[in-house]
Subunit: 597 residues, 2 copies
């Protein structure tokens, strides 16, 4: 049975030492979050994740969800009680606006709790996670009347949320969607169509389910400019806010999937269901993007979360398992064999995972702080800059964290040898669960296109310029510190490749857009490595400072400094292969005739 311990100490080091949390105390909601309070919140969340959610992970996978003849869906044993504990702890509304019952605390803290929660039980975490994303979209775009009905109940967790985009014939290409919305006399709409792959579309955890549904109002233009967003509740709220009549939105079947068995993935049938427009007609994609961007960050965090729990279990196994002798001679001659940790190739796998995990945890906080800044800063320029950087980094994190999260789950499984392939050890579940994160909320190839095709060019490249300025300022500021040299050199190399790749797109992809498409995936990973390298530089500097200030922290800080060097020596060099591939362009791949595939 796998175990999980939330990395609270590492999180606190990042918040306090690397990002100097107290510098944000001017932002609404941050003021009361002294280090003690933050630690208490994280510890409380950690306890729930470790004690309640984690034990249900493997049983939930085995049992899965069951759809009944009446269209109802039962979640695995223990999920109702766990969801109640989650709701009772106030975790869903942690960062939601106090206007509707939220706690108004920093989004960054909510994201960290979600990270712990996804490590403990990814399938479970999707129920509250999607609710939080739906809350964000409703908060930003719905009318006050809709807000006052839906937000308090969703923030309290008694109602949950879903996002309904995909249809059988269209996923990425939403312009093709066929679900129709017919205006009714009372200002509502009758929604008709079929949506597939709807996570948490039907379940037994909450008294109502609030579907956010993309549909085309009769007579609206074809393509993406004729799509509107609707709230379609499972039960229509009564005037007093209690769930009333059953709406014509039902689960037609649930999918049999590779993983996340404990999350119900539904085919949703809307048969003239009553829906309420959110935001402007035909601007639904715009409104849905609020939910999608938040969900994409959430999915990125899932990649990190699985990588972390997989690492923890692989280390525990490697420590306990005695097999073979060190190449340099027995390390534990008194035992029948040495532990797996003496073998360089085992260390390679573990350190590749952890060198990602620590930097990715930092990048998560960096991005979430920008999310908080973009919404809460009193300074408009700061809000805009943070929004730029968050928008730039979201596809990078979604693509890179989920690709590496999956690869790392595979590596952690490999440490177990044959036992990694056996269900009872739980490692193969991490692999199966992690796999979906590369696909949903926009497959990673789409993230790469979003980065290269939209985010780079947006506002004249303002976001990218800001990112380059920040990293270069850091290099300059620390250049005189000789201890920092191995870290800064690595970052400089990655940054150089990233700049060359960007330049190559500017020179070669304007006239030939396939050159951008052909290099987009490599560019996303090149960007990710560079951003992670930047995080390692910041971690290294903070670790050096903490070490000299506090001798008791030396061993832990030295470990971080070693991992950072490992990252620079062994992971950063991949940027050159990415650059080489980008610079070959699209000619060869586009020259293969379609019929010859």
């Amino acid at each position: 049975m796998p175990t999980y311990q939330a990395p609270v100490a590492d999180t606190l080091f990042l918040l306090n030492d690397v990002f100097q949390w107290n510098r944000y105390s001017n932002l609404p909601g941050f003021g009361d979050t002294t280090p003690d309070i933050v630690e208490a919140i994280l510890q409380e969340g950690a306890r729930l994740c470790e004690e309640v959610l984690q034990p249900l992970n493997i049983t939930g996978d085995k049992e899965g969800c069951v759809r009944h003849a009446d269209g109802g869906v039962t979640t695995p044993k223990g999920f109702k009680e766990a969801y109640k504990a989650y709701v009772d702890g106030g975790w869903i509304g942690l960062a939601a606006t106090a206007d509707h019952g939220g706690q108004g605390l920093p989004y960054t803290l909510a994201a960290l709790i979600n990270q712990y929660s996804a490590s403990a039980n990814m399938a479970f975490t999707m129920y509250p996670g999607l609710t939080q994303s739906a809350i964000a979209a409703i908060t930003e775009h719905a009318s006050d009347a809709l807000k006052s009905i839906y937000l308090p109940r969703m923030i309290a967790g008694v109602w949950t949320g879903t996002m309904n985009l995909t249809e059988p014939h269209c996923g990425t290409d939403l312009g093709l969607l066929k679900t129709r919305a017919v205006p009714a006399a009372d200002g509502s709409y009758a929604i008709t169509g079929q949506k597939i792959f709807i996570s948490a579309g039907e379940h037994d955890l909450a008294e109502n389910i609030v579907h956010l549904v993309l549909a085309r109002i009769e007579g609206a233009p074809a393509g993406t400019r004729g799509i509107s967003l609707f709230i379609v509740p499972k039960f229509l709220p009564n005037a007093d806010g209690t769930p009333g009549a059953r709406n014509a939105a039902s689960c037609g079947s649930i999918e049999h999937k590779m993983g996340i068995h404990a999350n119900s993935t539904c085919v949703m049938n809307f048969d003239g269901a009553k829906g309420f427009l959110i935001g402007e007609a035909n601007r639904g994609l715009n409104a849905m993007f609020v939910m999608m961007n938040e969900a994409r960050l959430g999915v990125a965090i899932q990649g990190l979360a699985i990588s972390d729990v997989a690492y923890q279990n692989a280390v525990a196994y490697a420590r306990d398992r005695l097999q073979g002798r060190a190449l340099t001679g027995p390390k534990s001659p008194e035992k029948p064999a040495d532990s797996l940790l003496v073998h360089p190739d085992i260390r390679r796998m573990l350190m590749e995972i952890r060198a990602f995990n620590e930097a990715a945890s930092a990048l998560t906080i960096w991005s979430c702080l920008h999310a908080d800044m973009s919404r809460r800063s009193p300074d408009e320029k700061e809000r805009q800059k943070s929004d730029d950087l968050l928008g730039l980094m979201t596809p990078v994190m979604k693509g890179v964290f989920t690709d590496r999260g999956f690869d790392n789950a595979v590596k952690a499984q490999q440490v177990f040898g044959g036992h990694g392939y056996i269900a009872e050890w739980g490692m193969e579940q991490f692999v199966r669960d992690a796999r979906i994160a590369m696909i949903y909320e926009g497959a990673n190839g789409i993230q790469a296109l979003d980065l290269v095709g939209r985010k780079l060019r947006k506002d004249g490249g303002r976001a990218l310029t800001a990112f380059f300025a920040e990293t270069q300022a850091f290099i300059k500021e620390n250049g005189a510190n000789a201890e920092m040299t191995p870290y800064l050199k690595g970052l400089q190399a990655g940054l150089g490749d990233l700049q060359k790749a960007t330049m190559w797109f500017m020179q070669n992809a304007m006239a030939k857009p396939d050159n951008a498409g052909a290099g987009s995936y490599d560019y996303m990973h090149l960007f990710g490595l560079t951003a992670l390298g930047y995080m390692w530089c910041r971690i290294a500097r903070a670790a050096m400072e903490k070490k000299s200030a506090d001798a008791s922290a030396a061993a832990a800080m030295d470990a971080k400094l070693t991992l950072g060097r490992f990252f620079m020596e062994r992971m950063m060099p991949e940027t050159s292969a990415h650059l080489a591939r980008i610079q070959t362009g699209a000619d060869t791949m586009m020259s293969l005739p379609a019929e010859m595939f």
Copy 2:
């Protein structure tokens, strides 16, 4: 439902045009295999795989194997009939010695049929596949008396084989094994112990199961020098060769695994079971290595096989699925959207898979021909050289083909978007099945150590010298051909990195063996890329020749030439990152204290 079509035309191109099959007609068993005969054999095998085995793949996964209270195991519906068809076709004994009922045909042809079979149904193929490996070990090391009892029945497929190495506390480190063998008065041994992860350990396909079991004879030295190999049949053969008394070898349980559900993975309990020594006492590992080497090549082929069938299905989906428009403007304006094949990133994924598949198919044939030469050539020097090259390439192929086979299954799944995650499409099964190939028959980290720690140094580096000489001779021979330049340049670059890495080990790993361990995995992949690059050069030359000789082949040959360029432009550059990692050595990774993981 996935489909499969055996790539017979591609195989024939490799056999006839790239490797000039007729040059081997002097070898025993090759004489009668004219191009027509070879094609007929491949077509007949392909039909069985496509029509009988492939339809059982997804149902076998869903149903799995069932162990009953009496220790018996039932395979999924249809497997008995399929196994009978396999046996009736004479496929198990295709390459086995005619002395005991085999057909004595080239091992290369048997390996190709196994490739098709593993594409169609990997879990099924393990039953006959392990039997073939056991036949090889018995043929090479058992006494004539044992051979005459076991070989005819195993070659006919009425009895199947297994390999019993792993115990709960030891997998890689076989020196720790505890299973005991006590000599009996009749010259047999009483075998007692528990083995785990025994593929095909118990099933209902054959009338008897022949376990090859590693055990320690009482009083034998500790460690690997005290291990002997035994035949332990499920039923003790009567004098007339029919199965007699039930032996005390039974299946205690079967494992619940990530994939290959249709293969029964057993805990085998030996409770004083009667066993018969194969080869010399205490030299069991040596004898088992015959089986392991053959099985490792077989597992490498599984990696390729899954990659091939995953590619085929991903292409079919990409062709049919209409989603989005080409970046350069609509390609099918009459349809609601273009096919996925217009998107560069989709092409990237598909071409990465196929650029591997075609070169890996070539390397498989190159290696299998060396296996045939090493056993059948009349020239001792030729036998030795082939044995050297096969021994060198076996860990490379096992490690690289199975890593890439898995990665490619993941990529093919990614092409399907959300549908790739749903069981009914079959893509997620390919991923789950492919995963085990990276683990069993020696986890891939062990292959890398075998390569770097043993195969490079063996006989003063004779094998590596031969490989370098062959590739350099090819470059020299074709250097004047300008059309070959893009291919040779890529190979030269890879070869240069491989030579630098080898030199680095010579200079840095003798005194510090951890430097070899730390770079072994990268070295294995660097070697694999170089060997695949060499294959692409040979394919390219043959394709150019075929194209000018036969205009009707031009389109297919041009596709190969394009794929070869793709490989050189986009996959070969990875060698530089591997080299950079190798050259960083072990210091950083070994300096992290074990307690800080």
